[in-house]
């Protein structure tokens, strides 16, 4: 058995023992749907911050962003200001107010705020569809990693990913996943912090690596993308972060709105560390291995061939754990959309709490298997799939969520028009621009369409009577 195989198995066994133990401990404290979906609102700022970071830092970052830096160089780093603007918007306009509102899921909030079951149903449906796309990216990344390292066929890696995530998602829900996310973000941050200097040491210096990359392709150390393209990508990520259901749902598990703000600050810290390391790792892996068949392999090849066995094993476990935490977050939100919002609030309002909880767990199993078929076909690289999902998510949710929380006008019709118009605008531009050269990103068109329709329908509708916010906005006070 090689050194890496032995270390990897040892680290993997210890890691799985930890997460399964946390899952079982979470099961003992999970008795109701509220416990399952919000951890009874007991999560503190540091675990909360780690949860937000771990939920967003997924295969899209560790495989996709590293891979994008590998293939396009430095300029991709400029998407991070967009991400952080999204978190700022969330900290000021979304997170604390959403937490104060006191719902269980995002469709819950939207349905109550806009007093419309159509809004609830539409948002729940889109969450299921949109997050299935994101799951495809996670499964594909897992397949790439395991095949690159062990030569195992991707289907087995994907099934193992689904099974291991289900083992701790189904028993403990949000409570277990929060503490597991904290452990995972520690592993990810430490793995990346140590990988960067090791890569620099092996190549022989950052300055030399920069010159060598410039020799391979001048755009790697210059501008691969122009500012309009970077703005489009930044906006896609930023808007989707500000209104991402799987992030917003985590706010409901935190103690209060002050905890939410503090947690977002903690999340910033983790992201800054990881973003800087992803840049260095991507660039230096390109200098060390200039001809990888796929940029998505950069992370796993680096862990396999550059890091020492124990650090490499921990990094590979970090990669897999980041994917698992993202899959876990997506499954919780998507299954809640089906069981709590579509079934419990629309199809069968008299369903008991236990019935909804059982259905939630069943939906988790089904939703975990569906994306595997698409992931095996590898329609695009991981980062591209994530970008597409971010565009549609932002176009669909940003306007109704942010303006719904901060402006008293706007009813169900406005929200429905904004959602459908945003999705349609993003879709139309994606298809129309696919065969043309344009510097306008689909998310810009989607957000513009969504906002235009929202304000137009509000303007055409009746102004609210009296003063103060609608009853739904006062619910959490």
């Amino acid at each position: 058995m090689s050194a890496l195989s032995f270390h990897f198995l040892l680290v993997l066994l210890v890691y799985f023992f930890c997460i399964f133990t946390i899952g079982i401990l979470g099961l003992r404290k999970t008795h109701t749907e509220d416990d399952f979906l919000t951890a009874s609102r007991t999560i503190g700022p540091w675990v909360g911050g780690a949860v937000l970071a771990a939920t967003q830092i997924s295969a899209g970052t560790l495989v996709g962003t590293v891979g994008r830096h590998y293939s396009t160089g430095v300029s991709w780093v400029w998407i991070w200001p967009g991400v952080w603007c999204g978190w700022l918007i969330s900290a000021v306009f979304v997170g604390p107010k959403l937490r104060e509102f006191g719902a269980i899921t995002i469709p819950d909030y939207l349905g109550a705020r806009f007093e419309s079951e159509a809004v609830r149903g539409l948002s729940a449906l889109f969450i299921v569809l949109g997050y299935t796309i994101l799951l495809v990216a996670q499964y594909q990344a897992c397949g790439v990693i395991v095949q690159a390292i062990f030569g195992v066929r991707p289907i087995w890696a994907m099934l193992l990913l689904a099974a291991s995530t289900l083992v701790y998602t189904i028993p403990g829900g949000v409570r277990s996943s929060s503490y597991i996310d904290f452990l995972q973000i520690l592993i990810v941050a430490s793995g990346m912090l140590l990988a960067a200097p090791v890569l620099v040491y092996h190549f022989g210096g950052i300055h030399l690596a920069g010159e060598f990359l410039g020799s391979l392709d001048g755009r790697l150390t210059g501008w691969w993308y122009n500012w309009k393209q970077l703005l489009g990508y930044s906006m896609a990520f930023g808007f989707s972060i500000a209104a991402a259901p799987y992030e917003m749902a985590r706010f409901y598990s935190m103690r209060d709105k002050a905890t939410v703000r503090y947690a977002i600050g903690v999340c910033f810290l983790f992201q800054a560390i990881i973003g800087a390391c992803a840049l260095l790792i991507g660039l230096l892996t390109r200098a060390l291995f200039p001809q990888l068949p796929s940029a998505d392999q950069a992370s796993s090849i680096m862990a396999l061939n550059v890091l020492p066995p124990l650090a490499g094993s921990l990094f590979i476990v970090a990669l897999i754990s980041a994917i698992m935490s993202n899959v876990n977050a997506i499954l919780l939100v998507a299954s809640a959309g089906l069981s709590h919002d579509l079934y419990g609030k629309i199809v069968n309002r008299r369903a008991s709490d236990q019935r909804r909880l059982r259905l939630n767990r069943l939906c988790i199993v089904l939703l975990s298997l569906a994306p595997i078929w698409f992931a095996l076909r590898r329609y695009g690289d991981v980062q591209s799939i994530v970008v597409v999902e971010a565009r549609f998510l932002a176009s669909f949710f940003f306007v109704p969520v942010v303006f719904g929380l901060n402006w008293i006008r706007g009813k169900g019709t406005a929200a429905v028009c904004a959602m459908v118009g945003g999705f349609a605008g993003c879709l139309f531009w994606s298809l129309w621009a696919a065969a043309r050269t344009t510097n306008i990103d689909a998310v810009e068109v989607g957000i513009a369409a969504s906002a235009t329709l929202y304000f137009l329908v509000c303007a055409l509708g009746r102004a609210p009577r009296g003063e103060g916010p609608p009853a739904a906005l006062r619910a959490g006070n």
Partner: protein
């Protein structure tokens, strides 16, 4: 709705098509079928490299470009490219910043099938100052097939040498002076750290960068967990402001 079941697959297909369009191009008409590299270190300042490269291609034998890293204080000399039978292949050299580019005209290789080219790259590497640690390898402009491991690197050290275990890529030492690595892709360099027998200390063999990296990672993990656990127990993670009542 009857058509609802098709919404998901249609959306995913669309996303995939859009995503495929957005991905920077990675396609290549050439595939690296085999890369066998022998690195012989004659002393602490000098090494010779011989790399046999087999490339499969769809078109007629193309020109193959090899890229070598140019390290300061390192001289690469005696560069020649031959076919598998030892006949010289016309080669041009160009220097760009920190890279040395060798362009071999494989149409003159005259060996193998029309869909496969075999080239052998030879050169010597001399460290002008200090020890020779990093040896540039000739990276061909061809990618290996996904999931394959066609790259093999053999390292020979001088008699009496002791490898210190700080290698890149990770070398398996079958004997004290002969090591071997099998990879999926060609690295741009091989880093071999070794000392003549009797000249390395116990501390030098124990406190290697890999060992320090492993220790550092464990330290960060344990420290973070312990600090969080102790602060949690002391209530320090709870914010100073009075929290609202649980709903």
């Amino acid at each position: 709705m009857a058509c609802a079941k098709w919404i998901g697959p249609a959306a995913l297909l669309l996303a995939g098509a859009l995503g495929a369009k957005a991905a920077p191009g990675q396609a290549s008409a050439r595939t690296l079928a085999d890369f066998e590299c022998d690195v012989r270190l004659t002393n602490q300042h000098r090494a010779s490299v011989r790399a046999l490269v087999r490339i499969a291609h769809a078109d007629q034998r193309p020109a193959i470009t090899f890229t070598l890293v140019r390290y300061p204080g390192l001289a690469v000399s005696g560069i020649r490219v031959t076919n598998g039978q030892g006949s010289a292949v016309p080669t041009t050299m160009a220097i760009e910043n920190a890279a040395l580019l060798l362009r071999a005209d494989a149409r003159a290789a005259g060996e193998g099938t029309e869909r496969e080219t075999v080239l052998v790259v030879h050169y010597e590497v001399n460290a002008l100052r200090g020890r020779l640690a990093r040896i540039p390898l000739p990276v061909p402009a061809a990618r290996s097939a996904f999931g394959q491991r066609p790259v093999s690197i053999t390292v020979d050290l001088p008699e009496g040498a002791v490898p210190l275990g700080d290698d890149f890529p990770a070398i398996t030492w079958r004997s004290p002076t002969r090591g071997y690595a099998r990879l999926s892709d060609v690295p741009s360099l091989a880093m071999i750290v070794w000392r003549p027998a009797g000249s390395s200390s116990l501390a030098g063999r124990l406190f290697t960068p890999p060992a320090l990296t492993d220790a550092g990672m464990l330290l960060i993990l344990l420290t973070g967990t312990v600090i969080w656990w102790r602060r949690r127990k002391a209530g320090a993670t709870r914010l100073k402001q009075p929290s609202q009542a649980r709903e």
